[in-house]
Symmetry: C2
Subunit: 330 residues, 2 copies
Amino acid sequence: MAHGAGGKASRRLVEGLFAPLLYPGSQEPLNDAAHLEVGGTRIAFTADSFVVKPLRFPGGSIGELAINGTMNDLAVSGAKGVAITVTFVLEEGLAASVLEAEVRAMSKALKKAGAVIAGGDTKVVERGKADGMYITTAGIGTPLPGIKVDARSVRPGDKILLSGPIGDHGITILLARGDLDFEADLCSDTRSVLPLVEALAAECGPGIRWMRDPTRGGVATALNELARDSGLGIELLEEEIPMHDAVRGACELLGLDPLHIANEGQFLAIVSSEYADIALNALQQTAGGEEARMIGQVQVEPANAVLVTTRYGGSRIVDMLVGDPLPRIC
Amino acid sequence: MAHGAGGKASRRLVEGLFAPLLYPGSQEPLNDAAHLEVGGTRIAFTADSFVVKPLRFPGGSIGELAINGTMNDLAVSGAKGVAITVTFVLEEGLAASVLEAEVRAMSKALKKAGAVIAGGDTKVVERGKADGMYITTAGIGTPLPGIKVDARSVRPGDKILLSGPIGDHGITILLARGDLDFEADLCSDTRSVLPLVEALAAECGPGIRWMRDPTRGGVATALNELARDSGLGIELLEEEIPMHDAVRGACELLGLDPLHIANEGQFLAIVSSEYADIALNALQQTAGGEEARMIGQVQVEPANAVLVTTRYGGSRIVDMLVGDPLPRIC
């Protein structure tokens, strides 16, 4: 299960098996979407599979997640999604109303994102084989002008921005499964981050070095990947990291680190220091970005690692997610 | 299960649920890949999920099928695949060697097709789900110059070409499951059809009206869709349809119609009558196209239907696949 959790084992799988066979010789860092030249035009291209359990949860559902997840991967790569393909693997006996609800959710999310469905496919597998449905979306988009997202362009002194509170999605899913005797007034943060990315691009395009949406594996995994890809150190200020009390409480009770919990509607941006205030202001002035914060900075040390300075002045190294405390959250 | 079989129920699902919600107001016939304008360039875009059981079978495996299936959808839409995304849903406990074998098969198929992997995703689900692995591929491509594939351009008198013998894939999968006390020296026909499509495009581009690869639902379903989309009738000459004896024998024993059996390395082309001989010759002169045949023609009657003239001079209407005699063949 850990190989699907988006953390250390996932990265090992990609670096140890997929990349050597599928991209022999490539030295490019891994991004959320590839930008490639097709017929003389730059196109961004990405894909994700969704196996979230349960299919519906407070604040969203698998269909909506499948659209926004792929649109967000395009957005944080510096592109605006244009078209998407959708494929379903359906479990035999799935109620038509359940499928219809998800198609409606997708349609609504697409309209909001200003993208179209280019096509898709449906397979049906026997009872017990697919938990209702799995959805895979692939998306293509056009680069936002004036932005380049590249871990290798990150420099010591750059600032780290976060678009809003962390952990809402992962903890919401955990609670929605009903395995815990614990209730909280919490919703998934699933949404399109494109309006926030566009605001950032408009105000401080040249200052943007890198972006990522911290989904599986959370903020800690995303920033550990950046630390490794850039060879630099990341310092986070714990007290600056926005978080709802319900998330903090659930994590304390369960012994989870909120920095490892998945988000579906947030993103991290590394911005050069001279643009940092403008960037933070651009996010906070955009609807949905009011809770954005500057949560730390890039340093020379500790190289390849993420250091958290706690609210009491101590510090700790936070690794990528290891294992999978919360499987099947997207 | 029938909703995933690619026949009548699948079409009802698409026309009754997906299309009205996802493409409101569209009158375009459904094609294997969408051609759309992105950043000023025409791009072909398609996706397919693969849930074939077993994962490996004589002549191929799920990984190779996932690459060729998507590249073929692009090819028969009149495009050359350029880049592909791959997402895996893996079953917990899957042997690394099984995954590695499929990644190797994909790498080999990609190299042959001259395309690259743009990215992907991996999810892991619990034991008992996903039968080892499900794979979804999405592909983008550039239009082959001088070809337009459109069911509405088909005219009475046009000829129907088929690239080679039918039914090998479906019957191979059926036998590979070992449920039948029946053996045959048969391999899946899985392969890239692009070299054949390119040969056709080079020799008779303006004569090509429509192409399709008759996968799930077979030749009968693909041509019934064409009959409906064009409002015309399709006449097939049974004795012209190439078929291996093992496929004919298995179908007779099992009461299956070979016209409903899935293929993974063949395609149908509708060509205007003045180009028909040139087109057939172009296919037969290309490696892998030696067994191509002209199998019938387009007529005014029977409108919206497919009529097969049997080898004894009788005739029968062949409908789309109804139900699913062979589930999970791709």
